[in-house]
Structure formats: C-alpha cells, structure tokens
Amino acid sequence: MKDSFFALLEDWGASLRFFLRTLSTLFLGGGRAWRFRIPLVLDQIRRTGVMSVPIVLLVAGLTGMILVLQTAYQLARFGQVELVASLVGVSVTRELGPLMTAIIVAGRVGAAFTAELGTMNVNREILAAETMAVDPVDFLVVPRFLALGITLPCLTTLANIAAILFAMIAGYGMYDIPYDTFLRVARQWIQTKDILHGIVKSFFFGLLITHVSCYTAFSLKGGASSVGIATMKAVVAGIVGILATDVIFTAVLG
C-alpha cells in the first residue's frame, strides 16, 4: 500500500517533469525548430482534427436531438416547449459540447497517440531519434500538443453548431417549434461568455489529452502487450482528467 502510494507520487512527478519538458521545448525552440514543426503540426491537424469531424458531428447531432426529446416532453406539460432552445443552447455551449467532444477525442485521438508512440517506443524509434540528436519531444510530442490545442476548440465549435442544428430539427419535427422561434429563444439565453467558457475549456482539454497519451507512451516499458495496456490506461486517465478539469473550471469560473 505504502509502496503503491510512493509509486503513484513518483509517476505524477515524472508526468509533471514531462509536461514541463514539453513546454520548455515548445517555447525555447528557436525559429529553426518552427521550420520543422509547422508541416508536422499541419499533418497532425489533418489526422486529429479533420478526420474527427464526422464522428464529432454525428455524436453531437444525436445528443442535441436526445436533449430535445427528453426535455421538451416535460416542458410541453407547462406550455413552455420553446424554452427547450434555451436549455439545449446553454447546456451544449457551456458543458456538453466541450465535454462530449473531448471524450470522443480522448477515445479516438488520445488512444491513437498512445498506440503509435508506444509502438515507436517498443521498436526503439524514440531512442533512435535521441541518438540522432533529434529531440523526440520536439519531433513527436510538440506537434501533437499544438495540433490538439488548435483542433479541439474548433471541433467543439462544430459540435455546438451540430447539436443546436439537430435539436432545432427535432424540435420542429416532434413539437412543431418553428426554426425562427428556436433560434430567437436560443439567442436570448446563450451569452458570449458561455461560448468562450466552453472554447477555453476545450483548449485545456486538448493539452491534457495530448499530455496524458504521450506521457503514457513515452514511459511504457515492456513489449507489444504493454502498448495495449498503456493505450487503455491513457484513455481512462484522459477521460477522468477531462472530468476533473471540468469540475475545477466550473467551480472557479462558475
């Protein structure tokens, strides 16, 4: 028990050191470093962002519809069915949009990061980079860090739009709420700070997912089976980390 506790502390310490190394590599790399980074970042944006769009839109759209079907039914009893637009709008932009998108990305992209980098670790590719004086953090982690920091807020914005759009369709189809009424009510209730709150949160979720998945891959020891275990751990830790960060954000920013 005592040993496990100290092992956990040691692991957190190593994780913090890895995070600080990523930040220092990111900010202390000169202009030459950016020449190599930009193509790698663009490639990661394509792989992590563009290719995640369909699944994010699908899940967000379905969630928006479910929200309408669940809440409009009860609001209709009070003759306030159009208020469903405010409920969907605020809950999606503040909480559900960023949270749902981050969880999808943790499962899809975070898992891919850990599996890919973990395999590279097992095959000694990370060591090979080091022996060529190519910093593996700069080469492999920083581009992913930047890419997900950029793409997650973008994906969250798309998820928000998709959820509201599909909610609008469901509201019209099931409860005859006109599109213009839905949009008017939603606009009345959604504040700019709700949207910004969600976007800022999603940026930190992006950094968190990248850090957890890359650290897990870099620190894994053993063979191919360790990659599977590490991937599972990274996804679980990523999702728990997202929820914990969300609690902190909600408590601090209200």
């Binding site: 190599f36 095959n123 000694r124 060591l127 090979a128 080091e130 022996t131 060529m132 004086a133 053993g222």
Partner: protein, 277 residues
C-alpha cells in the same frame, strides 16, 4: 582476461570506457568494463545471451546511465554532459539498431534525410541527392519512396545503416546487424560495414553473437561473459584461444562453463535490461 591485447594504428582513441558498472535490481550486469576503440578500428563485442552486451551498448550510446565508470567519447565524459552537449557529441556517432528502428510513418528516403535536415543548412535539393547517394551505397536506390512496412528485413537493416551513416559519423555502433537475416544478406551487410570503416575511417563497434559475421567484420574482438571482459585480441588470437569460455562459445558446444539452460529469473532479468532509460 587472457592477456591477448593488441593495439594497431596510430589513431587516437575515439571511445574509451573505464570501470563501467551497471546493476539491475541488485544484480550486477556490467562488472567493471574497460575498453578502447581507435579511429577506423573494427571492434566486435561478442558473448552469450544475457552476458551484458546490450546493456554495454546502451551505456555507450547514452540510452542507459551507468552506476559507475566513464564513457569517454572523443575525449569527453559522455554521461557527465548536459543534454545539449550530449547532442553535440551524438552528431559524431551513428547507431544501427537491431530491428532497424526506422520511423514507420516516414519513407526510407525521409528516414535517411531526417538527420541531414535537422543538423545541416543544406538546401532540399542537395539533401535529396545525398539521400540517394547514401541509399545507393547500401543498394537501396530504388526504395527511397517506400515505407519501412513495404520492405524486407534485410532492406530495413541496410536502410538503418544508410541513416546511421547519413552524417558521416566517426563511430558506428551496431546492435546485432546480422540477426534474423539469411546468409547472403548477412555477408552483404558485413561487407558494407567493413567498406564503411575502410573508406571513411569510421570506427565500428559491433555487438553480435554470430561468429561467422564477427570474424568477417572484426580487426579486434572482445568477449563478455558474466558482465566482464574475459578475452580481447585480434580475430586470429581469439580463434586460437584456449580459454574454456571463449573456446566453447566459438565452437558452439553445449558442454562447458557457459550454461545452456536459463532460469526464469535470469530470463526476467534479461528482459529488464535496457528498460531504465
């Protein structure tokens, strides 16, 4: 040690190892290694599985930090340097890993180009020409656009050699360059290594337990056993050695001081080697 030391060539040592020790979970894997390699020399480190070869190589290339002792590369204590200084020295040596360790997401050409792009100001056109030259040297001129997954094991080793030689290093470390390859490919890779040393004056440090390959490459050999150097000398003197460990290893006999069976504990320890980077 059986006193078969031989030194040749006027070159200064490019690698000196003094009193190198490394333990894993209380078990001493390297028990005080001393060795020296001069420019253009071809040193083969051989020994049975679990004798500490891979651990030694890991310490030499900076993948493992030794518990005691020094690794002097080009006169500088490698493990006492900070990351930036170590990287400066890393430009002077290349490593050919056992499995190749090519970046799987990059083509063969991009793998070879990577160190050139990162550590030189050459224009892309010049780098492309150099990549083709390096790949032609190892007979892979037509594989420049292929991914590592699309080429054979022997081609991967040759591509790894081309990448390791991209910056014309002064020392080339090779971990089991002939492991898992057919005899013709092994001969080809051995010849490439020897040619590299002869034409460019590159010092070779080759870890292997394949005796045919070892005798073909080496102009000096050391034998590790139980974490110690038990024999050192020119290939002919090693071949004639009466040391029971050396003789048993070269002849591949089961009977002798080198145990044939390995306990589960030994196996677990051998797995732990090279994992505390």
């Amino acid at each position: 040690m059986n006193g078969m030391k031989e030194r040749s060539g006027p070159e200064e040592p490019v690698l000196e190892v003094r009193g190198l020790r490394k333990s894993f979970q209380g078990k001493e894997v390297l028990a005080g290694i001393d060795l020296e390699v001069r420019g253009g020399e071809r040193l083969v480190i051989m020994g049975p599985s679990g004798c500490g070869k891979t651990t030694l190589l890991s310490c030499l290339i900076g993948a493992l930090k030794p518990d005691a002792g020094k690794v002097m590369l080009f006169g500088e204590d490698f493990h006492a340097l900070d990351r930036k200084e170590r990287d400066r020295l890393r430009l002077k040596f290349g490593v050919m890993f056992q499995g190749g360790a090519l970046f799987s997401s990059l083509t063969v050409g991009e793998n070879v180009a990577l160190p050139l792009e990162r550590h030189s100001d050459l224009p892309k056109e010049t780098i492309d020409i150099l990549v083709k030259l390096k790949l032609n040297q190892v007979g892979l001129g037509k594989a420049v656009d292929l991914l590592p997954a699309e080429i054979s094991g022997g081609m991967i080793k040759r591509a790894a050699l081309a990448r390791a030689m991209a910056l014309d290093p002064r020392i080339l470390f090779c971990d089991e360059p002939s492991a898992g390859l057919d005899p013709v490919t092994v001969t080809g890779i051995d010849r490439l290594l020897v040619d590299q040393a002869r034409t460019h004056g590159t010092a070779l440090v080759v870890v292997t337990h394949e005796m045919t390959s070892a005798f073909r490459i080496a102009d000096r050999m050391i034998m590790l056993y139980d974490g110690r150097v038990v024999a050192e000398g020119a290939p002919d003197s090693i071949r004639r050695s009466r040391d029971p460990i050396v003789a048993q290893f070269i002849e591949g006999r089961i009977e002798g001081p080198i145990g044939f069976s390995e306990t589960a504990e030994d196996f677990a320890e051998s797995l732990l080697e090279g994992t505390d980077r």
